[in-house]
């Protein structure tokens, strides 16, 4: 498979950007650690530097430092078997500077997250033990009614998709958040700035949709999931910038070029696989090894697909439209029947032969996702492991399970 120019470019950009974040933090600029399910667009519009918690957790995990980070919390008496994905960043603050990934995470002045589940708020509450770090919580409301085919509703009909009560709640919270950030940073949200950010995010999402649709029909698949993930996700963390929008366009153009060239494949692509669940950050090479050993290529991960379907929102009021993006962001991925309907839709559009479903402990409804895919005639392997904590599952276990599963497929 060809390597994507956009993947290398994104990774290089990210390293430069992070070095800049460290410099800005050292110069006493505010820095926010924000969970992926919280509205980063506000920080973008206020030009407040931010690091996405899950991105940093993936870096720590990929550098083999997740266990050490979680051990920091364990020694303080906290459970290291709960909310690892949320907690790794906090533990990583204690990594020795000489071994911390990319020089280490600077101390954030604020941690911003939704109260998802029973313990997420407690993990972020612990950040307040770090000197001069505050925690700003947002509610996580629930999907009470679930109209079908959410991906058709959310771009324009999001009042119908999510309901006014949920939108009113998050719109009010975002308004308060803006006021809080203005008070504590001295920055002022300029008129029209948030609208500009939202427009750029939509443009980026539309490019991602084109890329997803292109690759869904490409035979053979000319690019590796290992390249797709950083090519999509790094720009996602820079949503609302021209760079992010342009990176998404470059990804499409790179893929289109490879598809038009016939997409030389390194090995026969005998099986088309779908990876449902979070990326296995401590062993991304698994995807390449599976292709080499079984001629089975992962044609789908949720990262490009949710970037394509889950983020675009159009509306006249940028704050309410932003609320519409985040109010049910995780419901799209994890709450049945929304989740199961969407994964089946994606599996069919990508002509998937089988699914590997990494089941996370903090995600409800996994049974219904697996069930829906199987009822659609698609074999599913469920693996119960933590995507960022190698102690819960482990690379060897995952590879062995995948290999055994693929051996049963004709």
């Amino acid at each position: 498979m060809s390597r994507l120019r956009s993947a290398a470019a994104a990774t290089a950009y990210q390293k430069d950007w992070f070095a800049g974040v460290r410099q800005r933090a050292a110069a006493d600029e505010p820095l926010v650690l924000v969970n992926a399910d919280a509205p980063q667009e506000i920080l973008r519009a206020l030009d407040i530097p931010y690091v996405v918690n899950q991105w940093w957790a993936s870096v720590v995990s990929s550098k083999g430092k997740a266990s050490e980070s979680l051990d920091v919390l364990h020694k303080q008496g906290f459970p290291d078997f709960s909310r690892q994905y949320d907690a790794i960043a906090l533990g990583s603050l204690s990594l020795p500077p000489q071994t911390a990934p990319w020089g280490g995470l600077p101390r954030p002045s604020l941690v911003l997250a939704e109260l998802s589940g029973d313990a997420a708020g407690k993990v972020f509450e612990l950040w307040q033990q770090v000197e001069h770090t505050a925690f700003y919580p947002l509610e996580r409301s629930s999907l009470v009614d679930a109209p079908s085919n959410w991906w058709e509703l959310v771009p324009h009909r999001w009042e119908e998709a999510f309901g006014s009560a949920r939108l009113d709640l998050l719109q009010g919270e975002i308004t308060d958040l803006i006021a809080f950030l203005e008070r504590h940073t001295g920055r002022v949200l300029q008129p029209g700035r948030l609208t500009d950010v939202m427009d750029l995010v939509n443009e980026q999402a539309e490019w991602n949709r084109r890329t997803r649709d292109l690759l869904a029909s490409a035979r053979p698949l000319p690019v590796s999931i290992n390249d797709i993930i950083p090519s999509v996700m790094i720009p996602q963390w820079h949503r609302g910038t021209e760079w992010g929008r342009d990176a998404a366009r470059s990804l499409y153009e790179d893929c289109a070029e490879l598809v038009s060239q016939g997409g030389a494949s390194d090995a026969e692509q005998r099986l088309r696989l779908m990876w449902v669940g979070r990326g296995l950050w401590y062993d991304l090479d698994l995807y390449r090894r599976v292709q080499q050993s079984h001629q089975a290529v992962f044609v789908w991960s949720m990262y490009l697909a949710i970037a394509a379907d889950g983020y675009v929102r159009y509306g006249p009021d940028p704050v309410r439209t932003l609320a519409a993006r985040f109010v049910g962001l995780t419901d799209q991925l994890y709450t049945p029947p929304w989740s199961s309907e969407w994964y089946v839709k994606e599996a069919r559009s990508h002509s998937v032969d089988a699914v590997v479903h990494l089941v996370a402990e903090d995600v409800p409804g996994s049974y219904f996702v697996t069930r829906a895919l199987r009822e659609a005639g698609i074999p599913v392997l469920e693996i119960r492991a933590n995507n960022a904590d190698p102690r819960r599952g482990g690379a060897e276990h995952v590879q062995h399970a995948v290999g055994a599963f693929l051996g049963t497929l004709s």
């Binding site: 109260l115 407690k122 919580p137 509610e139 009560a165 009010g172 308060d176 409800p364 219904f368």
Partner: protein, 384 residues
């Protein structure tokens, strides 16, 4: 007169022991019974309609493969236990189930029940609705809770019960009755805090459990009779005054085991005790929304700091010798609370012990052993 207290106590204990058979009979008789999940449920709203509100619970059996498969192995083991009873129709033909967001397991159970009802109608599961009540102390959360309560009162309950939306005076009367019930439960707690308690923890848990299964209007006279005749209740002499924190206790199995050798649970801060209630300031829907928002502090919806301070205050009120954090497998929140609780209590000279990853059906012998080793830690505090 004296024996009336014992009769009232016996009636409450029987209501608890026979709760499953009684609710099944009630549902089968055609009386509207709405099962609810979690202490965030506004029981007043249900009772104002004339229906019976029944807090769903598990039973002393290992989870079935189906329940474990549907909910996964990482969820609080309470949830598969409830799902099993639902699948067995053990509660009888419930009119409906009202789930809440008191904890993530309740929410997961809601999504599972809704999907199973849709995908497998032959299971005969009742209609289910999620009442999404949240807990941050903000006006936006209050407005959201009020809107969700309004939907329940004006749309969901009328549809389930085939009646008109609730009138203000119906709700007000129900709020007043439950307020009286809560006052009486507070007086019941006083019976446990005395140097020689007149109620064991198991008896108190069963009283709290019983009033979650019968109408408040029926529970109030029983509690009044009990409290008017407390002298008839024998006293107990604890060998150890325990305070229980950690997981909710929807059965009495752990209490029976922990108290089986002379220890007495003199208080707790899980949702099947007084922590599971809330004070409604006025007899209105917005007041009810505020009360649920501010309920607790419960482990899944509170900060660790607030929870630790509340535990310490509750322990002091009970003059407990030792605090036991009893945490079931899959119940995340109490594990995060424990270090702060331990620190605050240590500052007050109260020892703590953690029993983590406990199975849903407690191992009676192991719990007796666990309590037995706590005794040497006691050093003359409290009323001993």
């Amino acid at each position: 007169m004296a024996s009336e207290g014992l009769r009232a106590l016996d009636a409450l204990q029987a209501a608890y022991a026979e709760r499953l058979s009684r609710v099944r009979a009630s549902a089968e008789s055609g009386r509207g019974v709405i099962g609810y999940l979690g202490a965030d449920a506004p029981v007043e709203l249900i009772e104002a309609t004339g229906a019976t509100a029944y807090q769903l619970h598990g039973a002393a059996q290992a989870a079935s493969p189906k329940a474990t498969e549907v909910l996964g192995s990482s969820v609080d083991t309470w949830a598969p236990a409830v799902l099993d009873l639902m699948l067995q129709q053990a509660f009888g033909p419930l009119t409906a189930v009202l789930a809440t967001r008191d904890c993530q397991s309740s929410m997961y159970l809601f999504y599972a029940l809704r999907e199973l009802r849709r995908l497998e109608p032959q299971l005969g599961l009742p209609p289910v609705h999620l009442l999404d009540m949240l807990h941050l102390p903000s006006p936006h959360t209050l407005a959201y809770n009020t809107a969700r309560l309004g939907e329940l009162a004006n749309e969901v309950l009328p549809q389930w019960l085939g009646r008109d939306p609730l009138a203000d005076d119906e709700l007000a009367a129900a709020i007043r009755t439950r307020r009286r019930l809560r006052e009486l439960l507070g007086e019941v707690e006083q019976l446990r805090r005395q140097p020689a308690p007149r109620l064991t923890g198991t008896q108190a848990l069963r009283i709290h459990g019983a009033v979650r299964t019968i109408p408040a209007a029926a529970a109030v006279p029983l509690l009044e009779a009990l409290l008017a005749n407390t002298q008839s209740l024998p006293t107990v002499t604890p060998t150890l005054r325990l305070f229980l924190t950690g997981s909710n206790q929807d059965t009495d199995l752990a209490y029976v085991a922990l108290e089986s050798d002379g220890a007495v649970i003199v208080g707790e801060d899980h949702d099947w005790g007084t922590t599971g209630g809330y004070d409604v300031e006025s007899d209105t829907l917005p007041a009810l929304a505020a009360a649920v928002r501010d309920r607790g502090p419960a482990a899944p919806t509170s900060t660790m700091a607030r929870r630790a301070e509340a535990t310490a205050r509750a322990v002091s009120r009970c003059a407990a010798d030792h605090v036991l954090s009893y945490i079931r497998h899959g119940d995340e929140a109490p594990s995060w609370d424990y270090p702060a609780q331990q620190t605050v209590l240590a500052d007050q000279g109260i020892p703590t012990t953690l029993l983590a990853a406990q199975p849903y059906v407690p191992d009676h012998a192991r719990l007796r052993e666990a309590v037995a080793v706590l005794r040497p830690a006691v050093s003359g505090r409290g009323h001993r």
